[in-house]
Symmetry: C2
Subunit: 216 residues, 2 copies
């Protein structure tokens, strides 16, 4: 793969979309797609798509377009799906359980190896054969298991403390569902899923939609 | 409130962040904040913040900064939090249950009034006093209840069909968690939460982070 400089967050957000669309094409047994068709499918211009891919090498051929399976696999490699990541979840409430049961988790190389919780009523319960452990056992667990990614699905009050603890264990990335910014040292990756912000964006868009229909 | 033209999606994404940060300031009993401090807190320039707010009227005062509670409430109104929305969830698996139990739901005016599911094993169970109903009862339910928002937490194969059905009932907005694009008529608001894409972005960022540390 071609060496590349740092890519912008805009590109980081588009790459998984391309991967998803290509996955759908594969499910529908589509073997080949032109720049134009990919543009119509994704909503991005053919030029934007080409630019994004050019960060990583030349894909596709003039006059042919793209081979779907090849591009899907290449994007998968670019996105790091060829790696495996040992993953733990902290917070075994509904959201943590939803993530633990999330179908795409394992088949993308995110190996769920532990689930931690502080509420005793969840202890010993299993999700997909993984027992829910007491959060106090976190450090002991990490002596025997290398943990790459921590998913934080705790209430917001606990998130920073949990982040500090998992970073101390050596995790390289945090998938954060708590509605708060967590502070991490340089080099630790944090991806936030701010459901509250998504819901508020929805609320705003409803309001705008009503304004627009009133103004017609 | 000042009339405003259509705002960009970039603004739509920033407004809920401001609201969240101001909420945190209020929790910490902070009464007042300067442009500079708000800029440091949010990561956006004071100029960007000012521009965003200017879409909706003049907030804050030269030399004083912003009154936190006032700005929080004004943003709340802009975001439509003064309205109430009758909300249903379709898909009562872990993710649907997580959303149903989501603490911020009700106190933002999103009144959960129904949960629908097709798997019989969930029927009759209750989440927060709301019984899980058979999806076949959806149309009958809507004769007695006005539904404003539908949350789709079904597998992706079901999402479009469910979207079509709720639109036929008159919902104005869909909060879509299924990992697929749903097609809706003009004027219907869709807010997607693509967890799979978030996870892939995380994977990519880990890979990039490793590349960068190797290149140092």
């Amino acid at each position: 793969m071609a060496k590349h400089g740092k890519v912008s967050m805009a590109v980081v957000r588009r790459l998984p979309k391309y991967h998803r669309y290509l996955g759908e094409l594969m499910e529908n047994d589509i073997k080949r797609i032109s720049s134009y068709e990919l543009s119509k499918l994704t909503g991005f211009t053919a030029s934007q798509i080409r630019q994004d891919f050019n960060n990583f090498g030349g894909f596709g051929q003039q006059g042919y377009g793209y081979n779907v399976e090849e591009l899907y696999n290449q994007l998968g490699n670019i996105l790091g799906l060829d790696k495996g990541y040992n993953t733990i979840i902290i917070g075994a409430g509904n959201l943590g359980q939803a993530i633990a049961n999330y179908r795409n988790f394992d088949n993308r190389g995110f190996r769920l190896i532990g689930i931690f919780e502080k509420n005793p009523r969840y202890m010993g319960l299993k999700i997909r054969d993984i027992p829910i452990m007491d959060i106090d056992e976190l450090e002991g667990f990490s002596k025997d298991h290398k943990v790459d990614i921590a998913v934080i699905t705790t209430p917001k009050e606990a998130a920073q403390e949990i982040a500090d603890r998992v970073i101390a264990l050596g995790v390289e990335a945090i998938w954060n569902f708590a509605p708060v910014d967590i502070k991490v040292p340089e080099g630790i990756v944090v991806e936030n899923v701010h459901l509250s912000e998504s819901l508020l964006a929805l609320s705003f868009l409803i309001k705008e939609s009503k304004r627009e229909s009133e103004n017609v």
